[in-house]
Symmetry: C2
DNA sequence: AATTAAGTGGAGGAACATCCTCAACTACCC
DNA sequence: GGGTAGTTGAGGATGTTCCTCCACTTAATT
């Protein structure tokens, strides 16, 4: 039922998507839409006409990016060696997030992607769980680790990306290696249980929170 | 040459310090001074009269807190077992930062503490270096690790605190253990060198940065 | 080439957040 | 009780972000 756009309008739509992609990647999904418009060489009004909310832009751009991550998880699960499957997945996902600050936001924050993106995110959890379990059965991951641990460590590495990536690109590989070694070779009993799955959402809500969402 | 304060004024000064301590601990050093005043049951003007800048409050409160961390490092160095010395230090420091969001800010951010606090921070680096080196000589830390690695991992754990501590208190112990295990038992060669010390400041500048300090 | 509907630009108003001053007031101290 | 130090908190100054609106431009149609 949607009428096709006029030729110039369609061209501008593409320009906006390209600009949004670039600006999101460089500065995260919280940038002003004005900046995207400017970067696209267009007026703000045009952006708002085509994508009334930031969410519309996010959905249009990150739907496939997240699906890609899910497919990497599947590839990891299909890999002959469980450990290589796990590390390969983690490295691919982290590399993608290192290159795109917006992707980090979408992957972790619960502030965007209420629609499609949230569904895709939920597809990831069981796969990550399986990646870990498979390694444990093969005896190459400590038995007291859990699937959520991988998510939490990704959180930490993503935080490192926020701080260090612009200054020391690629440094994350050093600390990811360190953490994965801990996961593989560590023997010190983990002193507290992993978080409940219900808590993961509440933890994710603190990803890049609004400046003054303070408590009392 | 500083005249003693009038009795009521001195009392209020104490009230302000106590309130600031509590509010900083709960919500970080970026809270509005208005909030501190209100929490102390005083008017904003009083706070501004006594501590003209936020920096004054910070210096008054965190000088000793940071010195305490330095002394823990010394205790760690004095401990008979190098590994226990190292982990003991790291755990004490992290526990302190888990309990005080303001302390995290002061320890990592370069936005405050240009004066005294910065000096104390600089006393820490060589001690941390020594803690690691001593463990390596004893053969209980991988030889390709460096002193700065401990700082960077603390960065990651501190980030985890930001996200998870309000929701799942104490969870940090799980991931700190994992990381320390990696540091001790890991064998996978670390793929990139540690950051130059000069870069550490630039990384720290991204700790809780102003909302729109974006690049181009 | 004239008509019309679709699309565009971007200044600027609205809604906030934060900072910090200052004039009227109050409390201490001698 | 006079003088000085101290207190107050509403509100002006400043800054940020969002998003609308309408005069203007351009593509499509006849």
């Amino acid at each position: 039922m949607t009428k096709p756009l006029r030729r110039d309008a369609e061209l501008n739509r593409q320009r906006i998507l390209k600009a949004a992609q670039e600006v999101f990647a460089a500065r995260g999904v919280d940038v002003m839409l004005d900046d995207i418009a400017h970067h696209a060489g267009l007026g703000v009004g045009t952006v708002y006409r085509r994508f009334p909310t930031r969410e519309d832009l996010v959905e249009a751009l990150f739907d496939t990016r997240l699906a890609e991550i899910v497919s990497w998880a599947d590839e990891g699960l299909a890999h002959a060696d469980p450990w290589t499957g796990l590390t390969g997945f983690v490295e691919q996902a982290t590399a993608a997030m290192a290159a795109d600050r917006g992707l980090r936001d979408i992957a972790f924050s619960r502030a965007y992607g209420r629609r499609r993106v949230a569904e895709i995110r939920e597809m990831l959890a069981p796969r990550v769980e399986a990646l870990v379990t498979r390694c444990q059965e093969a005896g190459v991951v400590r038995t007291d680790a859990a699937g959520v641990d991988l998510v939490l460590t990704q959180f930490m590495v993503a935080a490192l990306l926020e701080y260090a990536e612009p200054v020391a690109p690629g440094l994350w590989r050093r600390y990811l290696t360190l953490i994965l070694d801990g996961l593989r070779y560590g023997t010190t009993p983990l002193p507290v249980p992993p978080p409940e799955v219900e808590n993961m959402d509440r933890i994710a809500e603190n990803w890049r929170p609004p400046r003054r969402a303070g408590s009392g």
